[in-house]
Symmetry: C2
Subunit: 213 residues, 2 copies
DNA sequence: TTCAAAATGTGATAAATCCTCACATTTGCA
DNA sequence: TGCAAATGTGAGGATTTATCACATTTTGAA
């Protein structure tokens, strides 16, 4: 499992850690490092996060930090990787049981709300995903995540609209999903009232596109 | 004019330059600095751009650079500020003469294509706008720019659909514009064929939302 | 023209930060 | 037990941003 993650990280331009934690002791320490990083990011943002602070807060030396994370970006990437995994599980579960268009509409709407609330409430998630445009590795992770999530949509839509063109469906789902991320990011950047309006407008637009009028 | 820009920069969290270029000589040097920065960003990205390199390429000392730009981000911000100004002029011009729904559709479609081509062809623009999620000053600039551009859309749409709810129109236009940026960014991140499909899908979706079926 | 004040120009260097590396300690296991 | 692998450490090398005291050029009023 750790090897899988390392391999995936390699593909998107993150150097693999020199070591994967093999012993219980180091696994716990890596957890403490990630927790410390998470706390610091929540406080000041990942840009202001200092490797020395992470090490100190985790109660390890700076050398230990670099034993498992090749560089600063890798820490943020590791956090992002976890969020995508959690997110995909959540989305897959929410869409799996959908049977008809009405069910899809309410499931989709609920997913968007969850996403919106998550970004409103969690500074770490907000910060980690904000690096997504500038950092190539994060960008690749986000694209892969978006594609995976779009696939969940496509799987449901193929059942609901068996006549639809599959390629068209893929394109639309991918686009709609990315736009959802954009919409949520926009919504949390403005005041709450306007943000709510924007999210509702996005839902309407997305559903119209995905399941028609 | 320079004071205006400085004031605007202040509002979004960019410290004002200690000095605005007042003499012809320094104005030319500032241009050289921006040109050098632009070239370096095109080569390696703004993250890899080094202040020393910018100074050297511009033929000025590092001290002169900091005379007019308080920090590294300010250089990128200054470039971004120019692109938004140019973009707004272009958009305003394209929409000003629209008379009916058909005219709007073709003008909008053309604008999206221009935007897409610009991002495909110009590494500097691509890079500068990619910092938009992480850098607060850039984010604020982009939001203000998006609002301004959405206003151009609203102005036209009010003429085409005098019965529509103004608040709804504002929300939709703002959202659709931001989504267009997201769509273009997505399109340039994938292979050309899929990118073209995504942009076309966006156009269809946006136009359906803005002017109906 | 003169000359003082403002504007501009310079680059060594202070300060901050990332990351490495040589060496120490702990753990797993034959 | 004893050795190899895994893990732990933190001083210091390497980079890079940004400052500042001082030099030079331009402007404009007398």
């Amino acid at each position: 499992m750790d090897e899988k993650v390392a391999a995936k990280a390699d593909q998107v331009g993150i150097a693999s850690p020199r070591r994967s934690p093999a012993q219980q002791r180091s696994r716990e320490r890596v957890e403490r490092m990630l927790a410390a990083a998470s706390a610091l990011i929540a406080e000041q943002g990942s840009d202001a996060m200092r490797m020395g602070e992470v090490a100190e807060k985790a109660g390890v030396s700076i050398g230990s930090l670099y034993q498992f994370f090749p560089d600063k970006r890798a820490i943020v990437w590791a956090l992002a990787e976890r969020y995508t995994a959690e997110g995909q599980a959540c989305i897959s579960a929410a869409l799996k049981e959908v049977e008809d268009a009405e069910g899809f509409k309410s499931a989709f709407s609920e997913l968007v709300d969850i996403y919106y609330q998550l970004f409103l409430a969690e500074p770490v998630i907000r910060d980690v995903w904000s690096g997504t445009q500038a950092d190539k590795a994060l960008r690749a992770l986000e694209l892969a995540d978006s594609r995976a999530n779009a696939e969940f949509l496509v799987a449901v839509l193929k059942r609901l609209r068996p006549d639809a063109d599959p390629v068209q469906l893929e394109t639309t789902a991918f686009l709609v999903w990315q736009m959802g991320e954009a919409a949520v990011r926009l919504a949390i950047s403005v005041d709450r009232e306007e943000g709510d309006r924007l999210v509702e407008a996005y839902k309407r637009m997305a559903l119209r596109e995905l399941v028609g009028e």
